[in-house]
């Protein structure tokens, strides 16, 4: 079976989620790879959510909110998301997660087609990148196999699991 990436989408209640709703009612097709969580505002998307998503097995995360400068229902929530995004991407790349796995998009309630395009693009890109595979890396009690033997650095059993 071919690899199907898992995308977690945090969509703001007022624009992006309504946009996704529109895509649905208009019977536009988009891949089922995305699982959508509705949040009240893109400013509510705590970077912790994004890290937690990757930690629990997401291959990509989509943050979507209202178009700046003036669409935000709460006036400046989307600006908060916009400022967090580049810093969060830089942090993720240092933690070994490709920047393309996180995407921020402005999707209005009328842009169901944009949501479809963004999800399609993300799925294509994530298929290129391959599975993130972090979910197995949770810290578990140390095991014998998790040691590095510097004698034979190529021997798999001597490295971390």
């Amino acid at each position: 079976m071919s690899y199907e990436p898992k995308i977690l989408g945090f969509l703001c209640n007022w624009c992006a989620y309504t946009g996704a709703d529109l895509a649905g009612t208009a019977r536009m097709k988009y891949p089922s790879n995305i699982r959508i969580i509705r949040v009240m505002c893109s400013g509510r998307i705590d970077p912790t959510f994004v890290l937690k998503a990757f930690e629990e097995g997401a291959d990509g995360v989509l943050m979507a909110g209202c178009h700046p400068p003036s669409d935000c229902h709460y006036q400046n929530g989307n600006f908060k998301a916009m400022r967090r995004y580049p810093l969060l991407k830089k942090l993720l790349s240092q933690l070994g997660i490709e920047e393309d796995r996180l995407r921020l998009e402005w999707i209005s309630a009328a842009e169901g087609d944009k949501l479809v395009r963004v999800v399609n693009e993300m799925v294509d890109r994530l298929k290129e990148l391959g599975p993130l595979g972090l979910s197995k890396s949770n810290v578990e009690p140390l095991e014998e196999s998790e040691t590095l033997n510097i004698d034979n650095p190529t021997e798999e059993e001597n490295y971390v699991k």
Binding site: K52, S137, L142
Partner: protein
């Protein structure tokens, strides 16, 4: 324990700098108070005890072990497990054993990268034979063995059961005395952290206004205005996510908080939370400008996770560590 009997305490250092050991002596004459109620039964840094002395003890013989340093090699793991068996109470002492600390930053790299850099690549290294330490090597007297270097750094509670935490790099004297005296009289709830339960910002006395930062300064690039919030002046200060209880020593010296007391309760991941806190106060209204200011933050992960990388959500660059296996 009966009141007449003295508390038996042990100290151990694993992957640490020795600063925690100095911090114990830093309590000055209060050490007399400690000696009054406690006997030291193991302290490799300061007193002549051998591992075999500890092995000879009955299980649970030691009342309290103060363990400082992270766990990076097989010797540290072995002694952590040994001391856990022999101790009624295990205390993670200092940032490294509580949350990985500075040694934990090594989790950005695989063990092989670290070994190659240390023994082959540093500019000051002259190593024409490319000699690297071997776990086992044969000399004319026979085979000798050194501890195995693990793939990543662990905090103490990731390898053994830990009862209490005394964070800090190093812990401050008042906090140490307070912890020892408390442990001698009553046992707090398991998992108790001997520090404040608010954020450092909550206890900080600097003047604060509505924050808007246009530019980020590294501490050496600016002389901060005394009495004014450092974050507000564009200096990265970890106060918003860091546990209080240190007495705001750095802040009082006009230096930003580096986060050595670990993340405050209710914060799940320090780095992510600080991205949120810092980005929210940046005074930029365009995507381009947000990217520009991000460029001036040179090492966000290293700065925001300075003392808790092994215990953060992603534990460091695990993929790189796993990549080295393949």
């Amino acid at each position: 324990m009966s009141n007449k009997e003295k508390l038996k305490i042990a100290f151990y250092w694993a992957a640490s700098c020795g600063g925690c050991e100095v911090a114990v002596l830093d309590i000055d004459e209060a050490i007399l108070k400690v000696i009054e109620i406690a006997d030291i039964v193991f302290w490799p840094c300061a007193m002549d005890f051998k591992y075999s002395d500890v092995r000879a003890m009955e299980d649970g013989y030691i009342d309290v072990t103060f363990f400082n340093g992270a766990v990076r090699n097989s010797e540290q793991l072995e002694i952590a497990e040994l001391l856990r068996r022999k101790s009624k109470i295990m205390v993670a002492f200092g940032s490294c054993s509580s949350s990985g600390g500075i040694p934990g930053l090594a989790n950005f790299y695989s063990a092989k990268e670290i070994m190659d850099y240390a023994y082959l690549e540093t500019p000051s290294t002259v190593n024409p034979n490319k000699t690297q330490p071997q776990v086992k090597s044969t000399v004319k007297e026979g085979e000798i063995e050194i501890p195995t270097f693990f793939g990543r750094v662990y905090s103490l509670d990731q390898v053994v059961d830990v009862d209490y935490y005394i964070p800090g790099c190093p812990p401050v004297p008042d906090q140490i005395v307070d912890a020892v005296l408390k442990l001698a009289t009553e046992a707090p709830e398991k998992g108790h952290v001997f520090a404040g339960d608010k954020t450092l910002c909550d206890t900080c006395e600097l003047e604060k206004h509505d924050k808007k930062i246009e530019k980020i300064y590294r501490p050496h690039e600016i002389i901060p205005e005394p009495g004014l919030c450092l974050l507000e002046q564009g200096i990265i200060c970890m106060g918003p996510i860091t546990r209080s209880g240190c007495g705001n020593r750095c802040i009082n010296a006009n230096m930003p908080c580096r986060g050595c007391f670990g993340i405050s309760p209710n914060v799940i991941d320090g780095g992510a939370k600080f991205v949120s806190a810092l980005a929210s106060i940046l005074d930029v209204a365009e995507e381009q400008a947000a990217e520009e200011i991000t460029k001036s933050i040179l090492d966000p992960a290293g700065t925001f996770y300075r003392f808790d990388l092994p215990k953060s959500l992603l534990h460091g660059n695990i993929r790189k560590i796993e990549e080295a296996i393949k």
